[in-house]
């Protein structure tokens, strides 16, 4: 549980501190992973399989979120590149 908390905090720090869209998406991945870890730890603590089921759902959500997020990122990148090359290379979100 402590590991899950630390990982979640790190993901949150990354989400807040970085201004690069790719890093923000990666931080969201870390946070979802930490939430899933908390579910699995709780499930193994009480000897239930519900935690692992919840982790499968979190995995599905993360996959969907990454697909849409990366499509949005590509869209933003192409739009900024047509406007300003510097904004595109920095990818300021």
């Amino acid at each position: 549980m402590l590991l899950a908390g630390i990982l979640f905090a790190l993901g949150l720090v990354g989400l807040l501190a970085r201004r690069n869209l790719i890093f923000i998406l990666m931080s969201i991945e870390v946070m979802l992973n930490a939430a899933g870890l908390a579910f699995v730890v709780a499930g193994s603590r009480w000897q239930e399989s519900d935690g692992q089921v919840m982790f499968i759902f979190i995995l599905t959500t993360a996959a969907a979120e990454v697909a849409v997020g990366l499509a949005l990122l590509l869209q933003l990148y192409h739009r900024y590149k047509s406007l300003d090359a510097d904004a595109a290379s920095l990818m300021r979100g």
Partner: protein, 197 residues
């Protein structure tokens, strides 16, 4: 079991710190893969081998491949050959390699003692997970399938709109070319680089 858990946890935290603090997206991706693999080992030591396999396959496999593809797509262009030389310095690969080597040693250690009884961790078999997943959580499975379908359609739509706009830009460009050349579009088209390619 406890030592492997703590070593994997420390590796996960280290790799995640490196993910957040890296400046280069490719380095951060390497450390993120290491972090996900170590979390998978944590799952294994917690008595959830099915979830550990899912973590490796889906997270470290599929989702990271998506990230790698997008990073490579964003870096298209001739001006990136010089940064690639900087990225491919072997010094940058040392950190993830060391962490992954520790993880591989852990996996070998776990596999060597796999025949023994698992102590300290409650083992939840994949069968129980499947029974719970398709028993009381059946509506959740359906919702997840709808979510994935929505994500698929949404990602396709977001990726498609850009191509449509490029096509309209091509049409506008060819209109401008036709106006500039007084209708002699064929000769103006053969002069420039072919945009249809």
């Amino acid at each position: 079991m406890d030592t492997t858990f703590y070593v994997a946890a420390v590796i996960a935290i280290l790799a995640t710190v490196m993910v957040v603090t890296r400046l280069n997206a490719v380095h951060a991706l390497l450390y993120l893969i290491v972090s996900l693999l170590s979390v998978a080992i944590v799952f294994y030591t917690l008595g959830a081998p099915f979830i550990a396999a899912l973590e490796v396959i889906v997270y470290a496999g599929a989702i990271m491949i998506l990230f790698v593809f997008v990073v490579m797509m964003l870096n298209l262009g001739p001006h990136t050959t010089k940064p690639e030389g900087i990225w491919l310095k072997p010094r940058m690969l040392v950190g993830p390699c060391i962490l992954s080597a520790i993880l591989i040693a852990e996996v070998a250690c776990l596999l060597s003692q796999a025949g023994n009884a698992r102590q300290g961790a409650v083992f939840v078999s994949p069968k129980e997970v499947g029974l719970a997943l398709f028993g009381p959580y059946l509506i959740g499975v359906e919702l997840a399938s709808m979510l994935l379908l929505g994500a698929l359609v949404g990602a396709y739509h977001l990726g498609r709109r850009k191509r449509e706009r490029m096509e309209t830009r091509d049409v506008v460009d060819s209109d401008a070319a036709r106006n500039a050349t007084g209708g002699d579009i064929v000769r103006s088209g053969t002069g420039g680089p072919s945009r249809a390619a």
